[in-house]
Symmetry: C2
Subunit: 579 residues, 2 copies
């Protein structure tokens, strides 16, 4: 088999060793995930501002595509909360009102996202996701959780509200508070309370009654299904749809339709930025859960192939009436705990959802939207975790500032602004930090060959010789800082004859830094001062040899700082005597 086939089609690897026992494990996991996914897929479609069936469609073909192209043995792909919220924001930018146009926009967004992910994977650009710092993601997820929960309150109350920011959402909600529907509120509050109880109270209760922790956990995961069944029956028996309770209504029954993205370049231009953000956020979330789960079984995943897998899933969503998908955190953990051993579990889940789409949709007519909102609220509030702020505050003020900005901008200006600002700010703060590297003036520790910071240790110095240890790679953002530092230190010091730059922590020198070193050299020459280097790393030395710098130097390159000291000072007797 050609190696590229094996690389791009991981199914060929695990599929060739597939046996009956693996099948049984995968099938059991698929049943549990299907039960969890049915209400989730409907609810997240609602959150994305799309018809409920698009949630089901996004949970069929994309799972099959991931099973073929994905590398994680436990990742459960499908609609997830944050990506659904971002989908709503992206489609909102288009200002569409026609349901068919909105559906096409969602399909197009999935297509663009799929193309981008697959392209990144083929070009092995997975490292781009690393430019999102962990604290920024944590802040973004927390703020998104709050935004999502706030956006669902309208369904709990049965009023109209909208907005991409927390303030807009709450303002429109309060303005319409008078129209609250009492039946909707009853269902919404009961379902929310029940689901919180299932999450916090049911599991311990079952365990006290002798259930094993694992079966108690599985039972708790079925809580949303119980809420769906109970409230649907309630709404049907009392005919609550005629009392103003919003229900899911007609869901077309049958297999996912064939769909095609729009090829309108204007729409592509508007959606492309959002598709990139959705892809990166989705990938980062997905790859981190996949890595965590893989490590537990000493397996590994290939992040670049994961991009191909998620790209294929999104393209599959785009041709089968779905919307952007990614690997879900809680769902993947359930899949893993339930014993999924290969990506085939995802394909079996797709069969489960297909059966639901074929057979269950008529039964969901009376499902109150308030119940779906309750399942979303309970799910996303577990994402909200402000401890990142405290952790960042104690660990690093720069990280704290980035997280706080991300949270405030996500809540105050929407998901796209929030996460973009977080990325830009993280990069900026990193450049800022490395643009002012630590530079220490060092001297000889008496009786040794070691050199230490003259401000912190009692060391020997020589007024003719200045040694500076640079604690950072030199590149364009800090090259000029080094220049300024040296001029500040050297100007007015009339005794000085030698400057030694001590480079053991300099891992790289780029062309800007080389030009700065040349400027430093020429200016020191003008002042009659010799410039020397010591302890230059191999790769840095290789580079310098390809430039004119070494030829122009009026000083020497010393292998060790001690050699430089001995050569340039007359006071070398001290250290020698101590040997």
């Amino acid at each position: 088999m050609p190696p590229f086939l094996r690389r791009y089609l991981p199914i060929l690897d695990w599929g060739s060793r597939y046996d009956r026992q693996t099948l049984e494990s995968d099938a059991l996991a698929a049943v549990i995930v299907t039960i969890m996914l049915i209400p989730q897929s409907l609810a997240y479609a609602l959150l994305a501002g799309l018809p409920a069936e698009m949630g089901l469609y996004a949970s069929i073909l994309p799972l099959v595509a991931y099973a073929i192209f994905g590398t994680s043995r436990a990742l459960a792909v499908g609609p997830v909360a944050v990506v659904s919220l971002m989908t709503a924001a992206a489609i909102g930018n288009l200002g569409l009102t026609e349901p068919a146009a909105i559906a096409t926009a969602a399909v197009t967004l999935a297509f663009l996202s799929g193309l981008f992910l697959a392209m990144m994977g083929v070009l092995r650009l997975g490292f781009i996701a690393n430019f999102l710092s962990h604290p920024v993601i944590a802040g973004f997820i927390t703020a998104s959780g709050i935004l999502i929960a706030a956006s669902q309150l309208k369904h709990i109350l049965g009023v109209k509200a909208s907005g991409h920011t927390l303030i807009e959402t709450l303002e429109t909600l309060f303005a319409n508070l008078g129209q609250t529907n009492i039946w909707t509120l009853l269902i919404g509050v009961s379902a929310t309370a029940f689901l919180f109880w299932v999450r916090k109270g049911l599991k311990p209760l079952l365990q006290r009654r002798g259930w094993s922790p694992r079966s108690a956990d599985t039972a708790a995961k079925a809580g949303p299904v119980a809420a769906v069944v109970a409230t649907t029956l309630f709404a049907w028996i009392f005919g609550l749809d005629s009392h103003g309770v919003a229900v899911v209504g007609d869901i077309p029954s049958g297999l996912p339709p064939l769909s095609a993205p729009s090829f309108d370049l204007g729409m592509w231009a508007t959606l492309m930025g959002s598709a990139v953000l959705i892809s990166i956020i989705g990938f980062v979330e997905s790859v981190s859960v996949a890595q965590t789960l893989a490590a537990k079984r000493r397996q590994r995943i290939d992040p670049d192939q994961e991009l191909v897998g998620l790209g294929a899933s999104n393209i599959a969503a785009a041709i089968s009436g779905g919307y952007p998908v990614t690997g879900g955190f809680s769902r993947s953990v359930v899949n893993f705990d339930a014993g999924a051993e290969t990506p085939a579990a995802g394909a079996f889940t797709a069969i489960g959802i297909t059966l639901a789409a074929l057979l269950l949709t008529p039964l969901l007519f009376f499902l109150p939207k308030a119940t779906l909102a309750a399942t979303i609220i309970v799910a996303v509030l577990s994402l909200v975790d402000f401890s990142i702020l405290k952790q960042a505050w104690t660990f690093s003020k720069a990280d704290f500032f980035a997280v706080l900005t991300t949270i405030l901008l996500t809540l105050g200006a929407g998901v796209e602004v929030g996460v973009s600002a977080g990325v830009v700010l993280s990069i900026f703060l990193h450049l800022y930090k490395t643009s002012r590297p630590h530079i220490a003036e060092i001297g000889l520790v008496p009786g040794t060959h070691h050199f230490r910071n003259i401000r912190r240790h009692e060391v020997e110095t020589d007024p003719k010789v200045l040694t500076l240890r640079v604690d950072e790679s030199l590149y364009f953002a800090n090259a000029r800082f080094l220049e300024d530092y040296i001029y500040d230190r050297v100007v007015g010091d009339s005794q000085l004859r030698h400057v030694i730059l001590n480079f053991p922590a300099v891992n790289e020198v780029d062309l800007s830094a080389l030009e700065s070193l040349e400027s430093i050299l020429h200016r020191l020459k003008d002042m009659g001062i010799h410039l020397h280097l010591s302890e230059v790393k191999g790769p840095v030395m290789d580079r310098l040899k390809r430039s004119r710098f070494l030829g122009e130097m009026n000083g020497r390159v010393f292998l060790s700082q001690y050699d430089a000291w001995v050569a340039l000072t007359n006071s070398n007797g001290t250290a020698r005597a101590a040997e």
Copy 2:
């Protein structure tokens, strides 16, 4: 005197020691710079698409403002070629046709640029300019030089042409080639040839005739004035303006008018991005020439105060009918060589230009635009230097890629796109490089306490112990790389019991990297492997102590890698025996 006054008003420092001898030096330098600046200021205004007198106005009050607020003793402020080109591009974005509106836009651009520079200076944000890498600037200047020269060809030929990119400019030029005015062409080509000869041939000639190098140089600098006088007389005598030769025409005589920027927020929004780019490019060019000249006399400049000085100059330009200014390279070198000792030389130059504005303007009516174009072409072609490409190619492919992109985009898509792309690409390439740090697996050099890369040296290893030396600070962009690297190495190595991370070159650990270290720790724990650290730097250790990481570790932190080796292996006899 309060220290902030001394900081923000460098004039108080040098002004208090000003004497007759300094005055004489400054005045002589001012005369030479004035002679050079009169044709330059008119020509650059033409390049910026503005009336000629705005060039003169930009050379009066801005120079006085810099004399008060600037720190360089030799910088000559005023209109410069690249900033004039960028001004033309910025104003072009507004799509104005009315001359008064164009003049207001130029004044507003100077005002915004001045505000931005002054604000950066007061907030001490001069380091932002460092994010422009040297090779990107070099590429940008070279490409701008070509663009400027191309844009002036129309004046040499006497045809109409326009465009912000090289292709647009040349296309419109060729389309109108049929309308070439023979008299204009004669003047333009003769002036260009004369100025090239002055630059290359006159100075050696004069030296051969016994002139001192310095006077020969000064005479050569007066070349443009000679060309202006000769071609103006020629145009006047033969009445060439009625033969289709474009002349400068009426320049209002008198002091600069009081002007006010527009406060239209729409215009601010459109111009702000351009103002930021103009400010940063202008500052970078200015500060580097100021630093070079200051170093020659063992003086120093304060880059943050330079921002204040250039900010004040641009605000002065905005209130006196000028347009964006900065420190010019060749003019500053002339000023320095002519003996300028303090910023007062700039103020004296301003007096010279004022006299020109009062007395000379009627004489400039017949000055052919082709002559001004010739002075621009000869001046900017000295900026064009493709050697940066060769230098970058041998030194670093990443830098080469950044320079090439900057040059191609500047020529093909205009100055603003070109320089922005250069900045973004430099930052991206830096992040990319540091996102894949060098990680070496190290072992003990027999008979010593030193550890070296196992791939490059004969060293002792232990199948139970893996030691990795990380040659880069750990931060969000490379945190996941370290995770992946460790998992790849560890998965499948069933003998492994200990992983030691050797941190002597890790200057920083941010919160993302901390989380990665925690993930690594938990996954290694799951695999039954102990994680240890060795040779952690003080500031990094301080940070780790503020987190839970050290408490959760299942291994130890060793002061030296040798201590770790002795503690974790049984084969410590070798090294000990060698002592």
